[in-house]
Symmetry: C2
Subunit: 263 residues, 2 copies
Amino acid sequence: MYSDSILAGRLADAAGNAIRPFYRSDFGHEAKGDMSPVTEADRAAEAAMRAILDAECPSDGILGEEFGVKPGTSGRTWVLDPIDGTVSFMAGRPIFGTLIALLQDGFPVLGVLDQCISGERWIGAVGEATTLNGKPMMTRRCRALADATLASSGPQYFDNHSAEHFMVLAAKTAHKRMVWGGDCYNYGLLAAGQIDLVVEAGLKAYDIAALIPIIEGAGGMVCDWQGEPLYFDGRDDKKLHNVIALGDAARLEDVVKLLICNH
Amino acid sequence: MYSDSILAGRLADAAGNAIRPFYRSDFGHEAKGDMSPVTEADRAAEAAMRAILDAECPSDGILGEEFGVKPGTSGRTWVLDPIDGTVSFMAGRPIFGTLIALLQDGFPVLGVLDQCISGERWIGAVGEATTLNGKPMMTRRCRALADATLASSGPQYFDNHSAEHFMVLAAKTAHKRMVWGGDCYNYGLLAAGQIDLVVEAGLKAYDIAALIPIIEGAGGMVCDWQGEPLYFDGRDDKKLHNVIALGDAARLEDVVKLLICNH
């Protein structure tokens, strides 16, 4: 696992080097269509990571946001999201990130969240303490849902059905402290004991897999809206996941009860 | 105006020095009640700025978020928000900011937006080009509302009435690129040509006054939801403002029409 962590760190370095030249490169220019700087940066970063994996781990599978699935034979799959938080990137906010996960037989055993602008890197691995820039991080306790700081990337990511359940939950948390936006950064802050709860709907494997070892290695938990563990088919880049991330697992029952209240 | 800019920069330095020790100082601790690190940081930063103004500009008024109104006799009022984006600060996000405005007879003639974690500082003054870390910045053109990237701090800041109008507008913008959260940072990004439109409700003078010279000096405009200029009574720290900030003033009519459609 140690050498996999080193490799994942090198992937993150390569992605960051590919991304940084495009960040805010269109300052002052008119908004463009599809082939925007974010698309160029996304592709360049994923290509850079794939080049390393193809050369050094040719039997591992790859599931990436930009270039899809490359089946492997080793039982291991690298799951890559070069830019998680593309709207943040496009808006010039420094809180987007690169996500790198290693799945072993469908379960994420290693995760990296890299913020290439702020220079923050979270690393999590099964059986090890999660670190932020090398320093161990822990989630915080949360004795009551009413004290919980909740984060979510935006109301537009819920469909009508999931939005309704989300709003029921949000009203029971410390909703004046609720933070919107943020994408992967929210999960890093949860692992660092800064917020208590992230609830999102419709995430793909590459949006969430890397964050599971990071949060679990910091003492928290990640599951679906029924409280069940997430499982990833390394060949399915389309499946959608509704996700709960909790700093304090003692609040799981409260959260699940509110999210499924009208089922 | 040049010497006022220098002074405002020194105020921002003092605020940043007061704030940084509290940022993420509660990593891993349980969420607390009212006298949180953000409150301590807010007060320390405003006190540091007031100490400089009291010593060097004793006849200027001060309107601050934390310590209220000090009337002046010079016709000039400094408007201070030590931490704009307190929920971001509390969540450990680096995108909160310090806002410093100078009002002359109710109109903001100088504004500073300082991000003390990322080290970004916007300065705007009437008749001068807005700068970000010394480099001139311009808003971008936006030829159609459907291409506009919209930002707003969070749905919870609207009442039911303003939320309804906001949603009508949001649906006509490039809503897939819409960014939530961000507070003052959104206005800085608009001045830098990275997003096109910020629409918010219920802002106080210290939330918005500093951002007006910054946006206007970058080629954009700031007004209320009727399209009228904002005016501040330097002795009123309670008045609420509904705000439109636009990178390209040519879109003003489209925006106002949608926001007032059902009046």
